[in-house]
Symmetry: C2
Subunit: 316 residues, 2 copies
């Protein structure tokens, strides 16, 4: 399907619509679902949103007033879902009966009857915003809030390289339509749980520098996670801390896992190839962000990984 107008046409013709978000939902998949739900409701349709995992508390405001009626779906649309596997437990129910997939992931693996995928969009919410316009509607304040949320959460509040001038301008329009940008950003970026603070304290305390400060290592231990009461969401982004330090070319995060496993995340600055280093341990990933897993105690894993990094830096 080349044109978003076709997606609008399909939705306009449909009723009893289920909107699917991906598992471990983030601001973009939830913002897309909430905005599309509200637009379809305004067209008088019966709609519900589904997700394999619970909506994290921080995104609760997106769903204020949203209802979840029971019905047999006649049309299923997925938003921000790059692969049917990412439907999680909903894959079994819906994986082979998605009528329309709307997504922005370049890695999208076709699974729906029809799909609209635009990888130039920084967030699926950008596509949803255009789609709502094609449905003949102006975004209201609730839709604007949802779309703004998706744009800023997928771009680090417009900081990352995926944010385009279109992202900025769309965010501006959403503010004019009623999105409270400062409040959304406060919730998304300026609020930390106590557990998160404890984890930051623990990983900062664990930070060790190697190789003239070119390599920094932090540790996420089982004990620290248990003591802080941190959930997975509280650990998000910790792995990016070491690479932010001036002079650090390779940031390493060691995560202790049950059963003697140590998960390693590498973040690198140019020209260091994170995937190549992780490849030596049977892992992989992207050139600046990769991971691997070692069956080893943290100290041993640290020694092995730092030694591989030393090799890699020597070759530069």
């Amino acid at each position: 399907m080349a044109k978003l107008a076709r997606a609008a046409e399909l939705l306009r013709a449909a009723d009893h619509i289920v909107i699917l978000s991906h598992r471990s939902p983030d601001g973009d998949t939830l913002g897309s679902a909430a905005a599309l739900y509200r637009a379809l409701r305004k067209l008088g349709k019966t709609v519900r949103c589904e997700c394999a995992d619970a909506v994290p508390k921080k995104y609760g405001y997106l769903f204020a007033g949203i209802e979840s009626p029971e019905f047999d779906p006649e049309f299923v649309v997925s938003v921000d879902v790059a692969d049917r596997k990412l439907l999680g437990t909903l894959n079994e129910t819906y994986g082979d009966r998605v009528d329309l997939a709307v997504d922005h992931h370049a890695s999208h693996v076709d699974f729906a009857r029809e799909q609209y995928v635009d990888s130039r969009a920084a967030a699926t919410c950008e596509i949803i915003c255009d789609l709502i316009a094609l449905l003949g509607m102006d975004a209201d304040a609730d839709m604007a809030t949802a779309i703004y949320t998706g744009i800023v959460t997928d771009t680090g509040c417009l900081r990352y390289s995926n944010a385009t001038p279109k992202s900025y301008r769309m965010a501006a329009s959403m503010m004019e339509r009623g999105a409270d940008a400062a409040e959304i950003n406060r919730r998304m970026f300026e609020t930390k749980t106590r557990a998160r603070v404890e984890m930051e304290r623990a990983v900062m305390d664990s930070m060790t520098f190697y190789l003239d400060g070119k390599c920094a290592v932090i540790r996420i231990t089982e004990e620290a996670v248990a003591r802080s009461g941190a959930e997975e969401g509280d650990l998000e982004g910790l792995a990016s801390l070491p690479r932010q330090i001036e002079g650090v070319l390779v940031g390493v995060t060691l995560r202790e896992r049950p059963g003697g496993e140590c998960k390693v995340s590498l973040r690198t600055q140019a020209p260091v190839d994170a995937a190549a280093i992780c490849g030596e341990f049977g892992g992989g990933g992207h050139i600046r962000a990769a991971g691997c897993s070692l069956m080893a105690a943290l100290d041993d894993a640290e020694r092995a990984v730092v030694s591989a990094i030393e090799e890699a830096l020597r070759d530069l």
Copy 2:
């Protein structure tokens, strides 16, 4: 002076122009100066930028290729300077001979012969951008880089409540004119000095919670500053850390100073009045951000301030 066109007229008529930034320069005063310098140079004028303090290394890219010729100034323009005192050591030389002040601070105290002050602008760079257009010019890539920098540094990358849809749209235009947004944001927001990391570690370690977690206190000790080698710039924003924690209504930062002084910064969430609490100790400020100074050891200051906060919370 009501109209920015008048500022453009003054600049067009002038030559041998000195552009003044405020002391302890930030991205907005430096971005404004760099962008305006480049525009005036394109008009064939002789220009130099001056600032009482050295340009911090992180802003060095703004001044690539900018020259500092010797001449007797015929026209002096200040950018982002809210008060002549903020010229620092340049106040003596230039304080009473500023021909034009361009600023966005609501607290601007008139000191120049003429001024253009627009407090709706999130950054003085927004005004400079409009001014450059009035000088009959399109911003080139270097000007766009400087303007983008000023907008994002004064708005926390568009996160804060001062950012307007105009800020977003202007940032988008600057990207289209050549500002490398992702790289600028990486330098501004994703890069920390080793000293900064050490200071974050020290203040995280010092963090104490009071009043059922409604109050969090951190300490910046002389010893930690000396040990980390932190400069003033490395301490920027530390005071905002405690208030970011879920449940914290009052974040307190105690800064040990020479001579037995303890400087206190308060950051509050609604409805707590930071200025009122600091007022009890002879300080003041805004409703959500205020400060005061106590001649007391840190422990004593902490006790006194927490006790005042307890009172304030009881009254809510």
